[in-house]
């Protein structure tokens, strides 16, 4: 399998008035061509930051990349100029954003926004772009395309908007798709439909996917492999089967326990209620402060990812 995306030693920090905080610290992570890789973690774990770092859309300042390499098709994205990145964004790497309410520009009709992207990325004429936009609406199963394309975003529902955002992400034949919690801000009733649509499109286009979510169950519907992100670090990595069936890291266990399996299963809340740690400890495991099983070594040494069988890795001393 060839690697499409390979991240090494990536460190991203935020500079605030209280000092510098590390938000992303990835030793090694790669996504193979055609693979769907899931990234799971709680809010603030650095998932979206990783997405923005890959596309070089981080707000700098306050964020800055301290070190690292992001190889895409063998070329380091972090070394690319803004002009070179513009040729990659949308065309080779595209992204589905999490908030359909704020992702579309409020003062242009959806049609104007889609044709604008098509005209620029694919050099289409206006009429061609309009035709293609209608096709895209059919692709994401939005009925009455002409009507939808003539509307402003605020005149559409959240589900309709998210389908348009999905259409935009698939509009220019990108080989790598970043989906950042695409169903997070949708009503529960329409989440399934949108998720199914994404799954179908992924299968049809054979695109490589980095799927971000905070729910392991949901991610397992789409992905082959999954990584668990905690405070900017990978704590567990493996195939969906390995991680979902045999979770090894205490944090993954907590994440899994937070989802009720049976209808009336009683959840021991003390087991899933994690203390919010304000600051990172200077040494030791980043999870130690919240870990129920921590030992002395956890406070002193930072664990590295270790192989525990198959394609399964965890970063834990225990």
């Amino acid at each position: 399998m060839t690697e499409l995306l390979k991240i090494e030693n990536l460190k991203v920090n935020f500079r605030t008035f209280e000092g510098v905080t590390n938000v992303l610290n990835l030793e090694s992570l790669s996504v193979a061509k055609g693979e769907s890789f899931g990234l799971v973690g709680e809010s603030g774990a650095g998932k979206t930051t990783l997405a923005y770092t890959i596309l070089k859309l981080l707000p700098i300042p306050p964020a800055f990349v301290e070190s690292g390499v992001i190889n895409f098709e063998g070329e380091n994205l972090l070394k690319k100029s803004e002009g070179e990145m513009q040729k990659i964004r949308g065309k080779k790497v595209s992204m589905i954003f999490q908030d359909p309410m704020s992702t579309l520009n409020p003062v242009f009709t959806t049609g104007q926004q889609i044709t604008r992207v098509l005209q620029h990325n694919q050099g289409l004429h206006k009429a061609q772009a309009k035709k293609r936009a209608v096709e895209l609406m059919n692709l994401v199963k939005l009925p009455d395309p002409e009507n939808i394309l003539s509307k402003y975003p605020h005149e559409l529902s959240g589900g309709q908007r998210q389908r348009i955002i999905i259409a935009l992400a698939f509009s220019c034949g990108a080989q790598f798709l970043i989906a950042d919690e695409p169903t997070r801000n949708l009503d529960v009733t329409i989440q399934a439909g949108v998720l199914q649509l994404i799954a179908e499109l992924i299968r049809e286009t054979n695109v490589t996917v980095l799927f971000i979510g905070n729910n392991l169950e949901l991610v397992s519907l789409i992905c082959d492999r999954v990584g668990i992100l905690h405070r900017g670090q990978l704590v567990e990595l493996g195939s969906i089967k390995e991680v979902a069936k045999h979770p090894a890291h205490p944090y993954t266990l907590t994440l899994l326990r937070a989802i009720p399996k049976e209808k009336r299963e009683k959840i021991d809340l003390t087991q899933i209620a994690l203390k919010a740690e304000e600051r990172l400890a200077e040494k030791g495991c980043r999870y130690a402060g919240r870990c129920l099983k921590k030992e002395k070594i956890c406070l002193e040494e930072e664990p590295a990812l270790k192989h525990i069988g198959g394609t399964h890795y965890i970063a834990c001393h225990l």
Binding site: R15, T16, F17, P61, P62
Partner: protein, 299 residues
């Protein structure tokens, strides 16, 4: 009788201290704003120490010196002399005091009118609110400079009247600002509690609502100082403010009009003084606004 401070005031002190530190940190990062803050302090110092600084104290008010009229800048007269032979440098320095005094008095008076009216309107609601706010709307529909010009014209030209005119033109802005705050205060727990134990209405307004809404108004007022100084100078320029021989900057520029084509220094220096003073006040106001506005605030 003991003055009761609302409990929330105490609760609010700790985060406010952190807020203050953060504000200062952010201001400090913006060098332009910091230079302006320092200049404002310098100007205040100059205003206070004016009598000690000026080289020709007798030139400030009257004291003519016809042999030395309209001399260009030199060692003896840094900014040159005017048509009566007075030292322009001394008069400009003294003008700092006049401008700052006028502006502070005008804004203070505007606050004195605007704050109680706004607090009463917001806290009372109903017809009282409606009447006060409609009157405010009428005043707000005059361009402020025009209103100040009109009032100054009708009151008769003098510095005090110019100050009164500016206050009358400015109060509605504060009324509107504090009313909005007061409305949101009306249903807060401590106000309800005070009402429940039978505190008289005016005591609720001035004992509870005003102290809790005054902060943003004070910030706004300090940002307005630049504009007020400019308006006062404009009134004097039109002959509606300070009268000769007062060393007021706007008036000095105004009298210089008959001589400036052959004596550039006469109008340049007083005008520059107005510009720099208004500029530093506006820069501080701008910096404060950017730092205090959560939408543009960046760490």
């Amino acid at each position: 009788m003991r003055k009761l401070l609302p409990v929330e005031t105490f609760e609010a002190i700790k985060p406010r201290l952190k807020e203050f530190k953060l504000t200062f940190y952010l201001l400090n990062r913006n060098r332009l704003t910091m230079i302006a803050v320092i200049t404002v302090f310098l100007l205040v110092l100059i205003a206070i120490l004016a009598p000690l600084i000026v080289p020709y104290k007798e030139h400030v008010i009257s004291g003519t010196n016809p042999q030395e009229k309209l001399l260009p800048p030199s060692q003896e007269h840094l900014f040159g002399t005017d048509e009566l032979g007075r030292d322009i440098f001394s008069r400009v320095i003294y003008g700092t005091r006049i401008s700052l005094e006028t502006a502070l008095a005008a804004v203070g008076l505007a606050l004195l009118i605007g704050v109680p009216l706004g607090a009463i309107a917001g806290a009372t609601g109903g017809v009282v609110d409606e009447v006060i706010m409609r009157i405010t709307d009428i005043f707000l529909s005059f361009p402020p400079l025009l209103l100040a010009i009109l009032i100054a014209a009708f009151l008769g030209p003098s510095l005090t009247n110019a100050m009164l005119a500016i206050a009358v033109a400015w109060w509605p802005w504060y009324t509107r600002l504090i009313r909005g705050q007061a409305v949101s205060m009306r249903e807060r727990q401590f106000v309800r509690a005070a009402r429940a134990i039978g505190t008289p209405h005016f005591k609720i307004v001035f004992g509870h609502i005003v102290p809790n809404t005054i902060a943003p108004v004070i910030v706004q007022a300090s940002m307005d100082l630049g504009g007020v100084i400019l308006t006062a100078a404009s009134l004097s320029f039109l002959g509606l403010g300070a009268q000769p021989p007062t060393p007021e900057w706007g008036l000095m520029v105004s009298t210089s009009r008959n001589y400036f084509l052959n004596a550039w220094w006469y109008s340049i220096f007083p005008g520059l003084a107005i510009f720099i003073t208004v500029l530093v006040f506006n820069l501080v106001g701008d910096g404060l606004r950017e730092v205090l506005d959560p939408r543009t605030r960046k760490y």
